[in-house]
Symmetry: C2
Subunit: 346 residues, 2 copies
């Protein structure tokens, strides 16, 4: 992997990658020697290109076509050659004002982030809203739907509203529910769902040899309300951007990509990968064993409020993506969203 390349080879590789990103067609030696001020003849460039091909950074679709970077080539480019410039303050301002979050629900914010991400990058935007278990409790409410069926509404510190239906053998009266609600809303704020779960488990253990029937049931209800994971929300924006990419002209491939973009589950898996790490991460092509998005790259970054509430946002597009443009956008947006999550907390 870590082959050494001399400066000239690096320059040429960079030039090829950049030309290919711009044009989507195989690039030849002439073009490189002319457009880039390398002061090298096409012949020399050809020699270097032959070496690069042998090392696996390039490949040629057929003799007498130009060269195309391989995934390995893209990798090397991104890891070693690409210089990610900071966003100029003008661009930062433009991005910041693109986001109109006034009076918006958190759900709308997530969706809007996806939209802007897609609009600015010209690729497809993805946002994975903060995981339920990582959010900080603010308020809970119960709504009795029918005997034995309860709707639980959960509001996180960041203003994210989530709800689910639970079935309970006990048919709770309005008063009982109110008591439980009040108790939970008094004791739980500030804790993450994970912490609450641990605490509830503790209490259940302590309680089990005592005989306060009502309290036992209340505990059970609380556990049911908070124990199961709530399915994560994913927001996808600008899928039609995928259709603009010349490399996806084959309807078959396009269908695969769209199926992936439609499948919440697959997207969650994809975005979860980058949850753990910090800062912008890049997944190129099928490296991520998700063969379904072969030919695609994902640039993503986690975001999070001060206390938990970890989500992921990113941009997905063809491998031939404009990394130098998109990376700072994703980075900046992730920071921006983190700030918004905090602001929401007051």
């Amino acid at each position: 992997m870590s082959e050494e390349l001399n400066t000239r080879s690096q320059d040429i590789l960079a030039a090829i990658v950049e030309d290919y990103i711009a044009s989507a067609v195989p690039v030849g030696s002439r073009a490189i020697s002319r457009r880039h001020a390398l002061k090298l003849s096409p012949a020399t460039v050809r020699n270097v290109m032959a070496d690069l091909e042998e090392m696996g950074f390039l490949c040629s679709p057929h003799t007498s076509a130009g060269r195309v970077p391989t995934s390995k080539g893209f990798h090397y480019y991104i890891d070693s050659l690409l210089e990610v410039r900071e966003l100029s303050s003008a661009e930062q301002a433009r991005l910041t004002t693109s986001y109109q979050f006034k009076g918006m629900r958190m759900e709308d914010v997530m969706q809007e982030v996806g939209r802007v991400l897609s609009g600015i990058s010209s690729y497809t935007g993805l946002v994975l809203a903060p995981k339920f278990s990582s959010t900080v409790f603010r308020q809970i409410e119960f709504v009795r739907l029918s005997p034995g069926r309860l709707l639980v509404i959960f509001v996180s510190e960041a203003g994210l509203v989530q709800n689910k239906v639970i079935e309970s053998k006990v048919d709770w009266s309005r008063q009982d529910l109110e008591r439980i609600t009040n108790y939970l809303n008094r004791t739980l704020p500030g804790l993450t769902v994970q912490e609450i779960r641990a605490q509830l488990a503790d209490e259940v253990r302590q309680e089990q040899d005592r005989f306060d029937q009502l309290r036992k049931q209340a505990l059970q209800l609380s556990k049911a309300a908070l124990d199961e994971e709530i399915e994560d929300s994913v927001y996808v924006a600008g899928t039609s951007r995928m259709l603009e990419q010349p490399e996806f002209s084959s309807p078959e491939q396009m269908r695969k990509i769209f199926q992936t973009l439609e499948s919440k589950q697959q997207l969650i898996e994809l975005l979860d990968q980058s949850q753990a790490a910090e800062g912008v991460q890049i997944f190129i092509g099928s490296q991520s064993q998700h063969s379904s998005i072969e030919g695609c790259s994902l640039i993503s970054s986690p975001f999070s409020g001060k206390k938990g509430a970890i989500g992921t946002l990113g941009v997905i597009g063809p491998v031939r993506m404009n990394y130098s443009q998109v990376i700072p956008i994703v980075d900046f947006t992730a920071r921006l969203v983190s700030r918004i999550l905090d602001r929401e907390t007051e």
Copy 2:
């Protein structure tokens, strides 16, 4: 519009439409005379086809290609020729069991309906959730996000959870909010949002010459919480099915269609059309001045619980859609969802 066609012409038109639906290629006289037991020679069929073309039911892409039904042809076919068979009870059972609604949130139900609709029809499924103003009040909750910013959570009789953020000059205390919440939750259940709005407007009028400051503010808050429309939710499922249609091979057209499918606003307009009427409605091609979905047909039907909560669901696909299959599916599903909305109400 209402030209008279003799039985033979009708038979031939029907045969052409059906063949075209099945094959997506222009159909010729040979095929008709052979496949369908009409006992007519190709030459005769040709004569009839020429007539049908003159009347505007058919057109030929060029000489020596077969004929393709025009929108007018499809219209006539659907209005006069198509016999919509009821779903057999086996199919009904299959559909019913496809829907696994146990322990699902209403949002999930809507999404699942779209998915099944798409899966069974092989086209793209659409669901427009019940409009806020048409839903019946069940419960409301306020969450204080930050000074002056309140999150309002609204649960409808059918278990649909909606929320929005309102800004209020008054910084409400927890106690005040609780009082207001209790009052609203005691007096409003059973009324539709529309009715509530009228009632609130009345009260505001009565109140304005009295001077109970707190009550005035509480009224204002309630109005703010319920007055503004909450944006409708649309669920789209199976967009990748569009890519399977041979007539949408042009990437340009495909992009337009996907942009429309991505635009909540446009979908809402589209689905709103059929809200007013009862039963299944069919919009063919660009008849609906939505030129953006040229080449597409929409089969939709409103659904509703016993009291209000009117939504729309449907299937969108190429004009060359399998109407006889899809129409009963949409019809049955709409009835099914209506029943579910009622069941939710207890």
